[in-house]
């Protein structure tokens, strides 16, 4: 019995995000003119998966009590790169995919090296590296364009057996291959420990540096997977500053909605995935209710504002006022 209580306490944020997402999605499909069909689910999943990858990347870094304001730019950079090299014969395409993922790993590793071994603050360091990544993306694609192996793209954005969106399957595979092993490894625990209390983790001999470094590096990898999928959806590469910024911002929103604590050490990438889906569905709700798209940014902003203010209710439980000041 008490085992269950611990499990529930740990997964509360994730379950809440799942609940919000299901509620939003039910409202969405109930009011959608086409209703709950495979097509609607496929479109929603394709849009949601992009943000889900970026949000997972953000989660890995946020767990270590850091923040990565360059995820959106890594996402753009890998998108632009993929529009050059993920083409041609199956072998060339495979090599291209590997190269794109490697570039993502490199970007994440650079962030990690600057933050951990250079001992700079993650906010400033990743804003600066984000500017570098955007510059490289702009070098690769001064104008939108390029192409991608369309067979692979269609396979990964279509449906399996006519019903299951394959992008969703890809997301599950990435969770199983990247997130679960990380979470269960020594380094994953070290990342959580470092986010919870770096001093205590250091005193206990936890390999915090390597744990944090791995978290940043895998964050880059996940952002690159997101960039790859963006290329599969759009068939082009584009270095749009506003879009990179928006993905960074939305990834933080998704992480918060997904119950990941920005102070570090709490939450999971699964929660962030549901947070990302919920955030996307909220944005799409306006369309099914036939409102002017002009209102969408305001609506998303207000939802974000309310979502982050909900955390303030925890203040009422604080008995000692000093705990307000953390």
């Amino acid at each position: 019995m008490s085992e269950w209580r611990y499990w529930f306490a740990e997964q509360k944020g994730t379950l809440l995000a799942l609940g919000i997402f299901i509620a939003m999605f039910v409202i969405y499909t109930a009011n959608h003119p086409a209703g709950f069909t495979a097509n609607v689910v496929q479109t929603a999943s394709n849009k949601g998966v992009l943000l889900a990858f970026v949000a997972m990347a953000q989660t890995l870094v946020v767990i270590t009590a850091g923040i990565d304001l360059s995820v959106g730019m890594i996402f753009l950079l890998t998108n632009c790169l993929a529009s050059w090299i993920v083409v041609g014969t199956p072998l060339e395409t495979a090599l291209g995919v590997i190269a794109v993922l490697l570039v993502g790993v490199l970007c994440g590793a650079l962030n990690g090296a600057i933050v951990i071994y250079g001992r700079l603050q993650p906010i400033v360091a990743t804003i600066a590296t984000g500017s570098i990544y955007f510059g490289i993306a702009l070098l690769l694609r001064p104008y939108p364009g390029g192409s991608v192996n369309e067979d692979l793209a269609d396979a990964l954005t279509g449906r399996l057996f006519g019903v299951i969106p394959s992008s969703l399957v890809a997301l599950v595979v990435v969770v199983l291959v990247v997130w679960v092993p990380f979470r269960r490894s020594v380094y994953g625990r070290a990342a959580y420990a470092a986010g919870s209390s770096e001093v205590a983790a250091y005193m206990s001999g936890v390999p915090i540096k390597r744990g944090k470094f791995l978290a940043y590096t895998l964050g880059g990898l996940l952002a690159a997977i997101g960039g790859l999928f963006l290329t599969f959806f759009t068939y082009t590469g584009e270095a749009a500053y506003a879009s990179g910024n928006a993905y960074t911002l939305f990834s933080i929103a998704a992480v918060v909605l997904g119950g990941v604590s920005l102070f570090g050490g709490r939450g999971s990438a699964i929660g962030a995935i549901f947070g990302a889906f919920a955030f996307r569905t909220i944005g799409d709700l306006l369309f099914v209710f036939d409102l002017d798209p002009l209102w969408q940014p305001l609506f998303q902003g207000v939802v974000l504002l309310i979502a982050v203010s909900l955390g303030a209710f925890a203040l009422f439980r604080v008995k000692n006022r000093l705990e307000w000041f953390g």
């Binding site: 700079l120 070098l139 001064p142 911002l249 102070f263 902003g301 203010s309």
Partner: protein, 329 residues
């Protein structure tokens, strides 16, 4: 630990007036001189008074915005709502200017007031609801963007800046000295006075060092934090008003290029991003440094991509020089 020991040893051998200089501020001034020398090698007009005054004028817009950012960073917080607070200030001031004679008089105060309101929401969220500043300011940024998109219909508004706004940004009261520079100097003087000579200023530093200790010493820390955020919002909006005056109208996403530079200017000037440490002189140095860097890159006709890369590399390199946190031991 060994780092501080060696710098302490070196400092004690230096004359007293040099010992008082913050190494970060000294480094950034040295970098400014290095940039000027480098620029003059490229083109001789780099050291002409006209060019330097023009740079100061451009720097003053960033300077006003960075002043607000510095207040917030001194508290150990951050304000990511700068882009759309700047734009809101510019758009609302231009909108007010379209409302007859009364609107023209009230245009500038109205723009600033809108900024203060955004800052107040940030401040209440951070101080009273204890929401991390990074999140609440992102959220208010999104709301301000949403409001402006609805107001303008997604296009750049047709209203143009009032005479007074244009005069403040481009005119010169004293011949040869642009008004924008005078405005920045005034704001800077007030900020230095407030930060070093008033209870409010000392409380800001105290909260940045340890909010708990400041609270236990009888400082109403939440009120101070709220006021600082409101002031930062007002300053960002004022920066937007000046920018609208400079370009003679407001535009969508005119504030976007000011978020990174304002944070970078404050941090390059030696203010700790963790709060509690930093001087206004450093921020002035950071603002001039960034403006010069941008100007040199554009004079060299560097394409946008190269500019972004060099910009990021320079910021990382300079921070690695003197912005590192102590090792955890």
């Amino acid at each position: 630990m060994s780092d501080t020991a060696t710098t302490g040893g070196a400092a004690s051998r230096m004359p007293r007036f040099l010992r008082k200089v913050d190494p970060a501020v000294a480094t950034s001034f040295a970098c400014i001189i290095a940039l000027l020398v480098f620029g003059s090698l490229y083109s001789t007009s780099f050291l002409s008074p006209e060019y330097l005054l023009q740079q100061l004028k451009v720097a003053s817009f960033l300077g006003v915005i960075a002043t607000g950012m510095m207040l917030v960073i001194l508290l150990g917080q951050i304000d990511l709502s700068v882009p759309w607070t700047v734009t809101t200030g510019a758009m609302m001031a231009s909108a007010a200017a379209a409302f007859g004679p009364a609107g023209i008089v009230l245009a500038i105060p109205f723009g600033i007031l809108c900024g203060i309101l955004i800052g107040l929401v940030n401040g209440i969220g951070v101080a009273y609801l204890r929401i991390p500043s990074m999140i609440i300011t992102l959220a208010t940024n999104a709301v301000a963007q949403g409001l402006m998109v609805v107001y303008t219909g997604g296009f750049s508004p047709q209203d143009s800046a009032s005479e007074a706004m244009r005069w403040l940004a481009t005119g010169s009261l004293v011949p040869g000295v642009p008004n924008a520079v005078v405005v920045w100097a005034l704001i800077g003087a007030v900020t230095v006075f407030v930060l070093t000579r008033t209870t409010f200023g000392r409380s800001v530093y105290a909260i940045g060092n340890r909010e708990r200790a400041a609270y236990l010493s009888g400082v109403d820390t939440r009120r101070i934090v709220m006021i600082a955020f409101a002031a930062a919002g007002g300053l960002s909006a004022f920066g937007g008003v000046l920018l609208a005056g400079y370009a003679s109208k407001a535009a969508q996403s005119m504030g976007d290029p000011y978020l990174l530079p304002s944070i970078a200017a404050v941090v390059l000037g030696g203010t700790s991003i963790l709060g509690g440490r930093g001087s206004y002189l450093g921020t002035v140095a950071g603002v001039i440094l960034i403006t010069l860097l941008q100007s040199i890159l554009s004079v060299m006709q560097m394409p946008e991509a190269g500019r972004q890369i060099i910009y990021g590399v320079v910021i990382v390199a300079m921070l690695l020089l003197y912005g590192r946190a102590p090792a955890s031991r």
